[in-house]
Amino acid sequence: MAAVTCEEIRELFTARADEALGPGERARLDAHLATCAECAREWERFAGTVGMLRAMAPARAPAGFVDRVLAARRRPWYRRLAQSLLTPWPVKLPLEAAAIVLLGGLAIMVFQRSPDLPASIPPPAAARREAPPDAAAPPVDSRRLSRDSAGKARRPALERGARGEADEGRGELADRQTTPAAPAPAMQPSGELRARSARAGVQARLAVDDAAAAERRVRDLVIRAGGEVVARSDEAGAIVLNLVVAGDRWDEVRRGLQALGALRLEDERERPDDRVRVTLRLEP
């Protein structure tokens, strides 16, 4: 196998994160990561970045949006044009802001002048529940777009892209699938928060016979201890979990991990009293 540089390997990170590498390149990448600690660390950070992006909740259009679009469609074009010209968004925003301030002021006034009201309001919910995820994005269609209105609209950018980005594609390594699995299963939120912790905590390795089975047991262990699995990624055959547990439950979790396999604590830095963040590699 020809030697590859770290720079070449890191160019593969995006395709790896999207499960879009061919088997040859995937093997080359994994072999390099197994021997180059610096690249392995960079990969972990890269995958963490992608994981954070994908953990963001899907955006939701505001309530009443559909009705407003339907109403706008029924208005004649010259009225829509006049409306958009007469009230561009920089004007609308201050109007909206003024309305919010006015309503807020009224609400405060009503609140202050109603002595029974504060006692009648229940405490805020401990958790804000997110809106359910939107329907999945449509799968990839390999056919080209027709010269429709969108094509006309984007033509200037297309030309700009062709000129300005001509060099961007160079240097790409071959042996790559054109379409990544969308979205990559290993990077998906799957109902878990994927945020990386702000401070480094415990770095641990757990040698197990079956990484997938061990993952399930680790998750149970963490949940029983009142913690959470905040991120997960696959790295060179290992499963990497980022855990957060309460400081006073860490010893319990550690003992549970030791019962699952050979646990090696590599980097147990000074940790905050309230919570412990653990990067745990499950290695077969």
């Binding site: 992006l53 899907p58 559909v66 777009l145 010269r147 309230d274």
Partner: protein, 180 residues
């Protein structure tokens, strides 16, 4: 309802088909506007204009691409044009919230950290150059494949790959303190 039958009904002037189109794609189209412009009012304006333009141009749409791809193309172009027209004002938005609600009993420090991370993500995405931002938005937020992004933006496949990679590297550099 599949694309072909929806398109046929749209072309026949079926009002309910247009409503189904808007209802089916409203969040995705709005999401592109919000992530690109960082402002809900502008995002709604862009989303509304996307559907109105699509409706007007139905006769020209030959159906060789998916309806979703076509709508993404219109929305992306409108966003890029809007961005080219002047500086933006990004606002705080809960739409950048992380997908999981905090667990019951989460302490105040955890909530603060979560808020900080969301703010960091929002700022990092907003700071990306526009041509990289749109690729990251379409791939990592909307889940489109490389080929579909190339169709949406009308750029070569390698350009999509390169912009996505560079965009993610930019984000990694910005989010340094949140990474292990």
């Amino acid at each position: 309802m599949d694309d072909a039958s929806l398109l046929a009904r749209l072309r026949a002037g079926d009002e309910r088909a247009f409503e189904a189109l808007v209802r089916g794609y409203q969040h995705r189209v709005f999401g592109v506007g919000l992530r690109m412009l960082g402002n809900r009012a502008e995002a709604e304006e862009i989303a509304q204009e996307t559907f109105l333009r699509a409706h007007r141009a139905l006769g020209e749409f030959r159906g060789e691409a998916r309806l979703g791809t076509w709508l993404y193309a219109i929305a992306s172009r409108l966003c890029l044009d809007r961005l080219a027209s002047g500086p933006r004002r990004h606002e705080r938005s809960d739409d950048f919230a992380l997908a999981q609600a905090p667990a019951a009993g989460t302490d105040a420090a955890g909530a603060l950290e979560r808020d900080e991370l969301q703010a960091a993500l929002r700022e990092a995405v907003a700071a990306l150059p526009e041509e990289r931002r749109i690729v990251v938005v379409l791939r990592d937020f909307e889940g489109l494949g490389y080929e579909e992004i190339a169709e949406v933006l009308g750029v070569p496949l390698n350009t999509v790959r390169t912009r996505l990679h560079r965009g993610r590297l930019d984000l990694k550099a910005k989010l340094e303190r949140w990474l292990p």
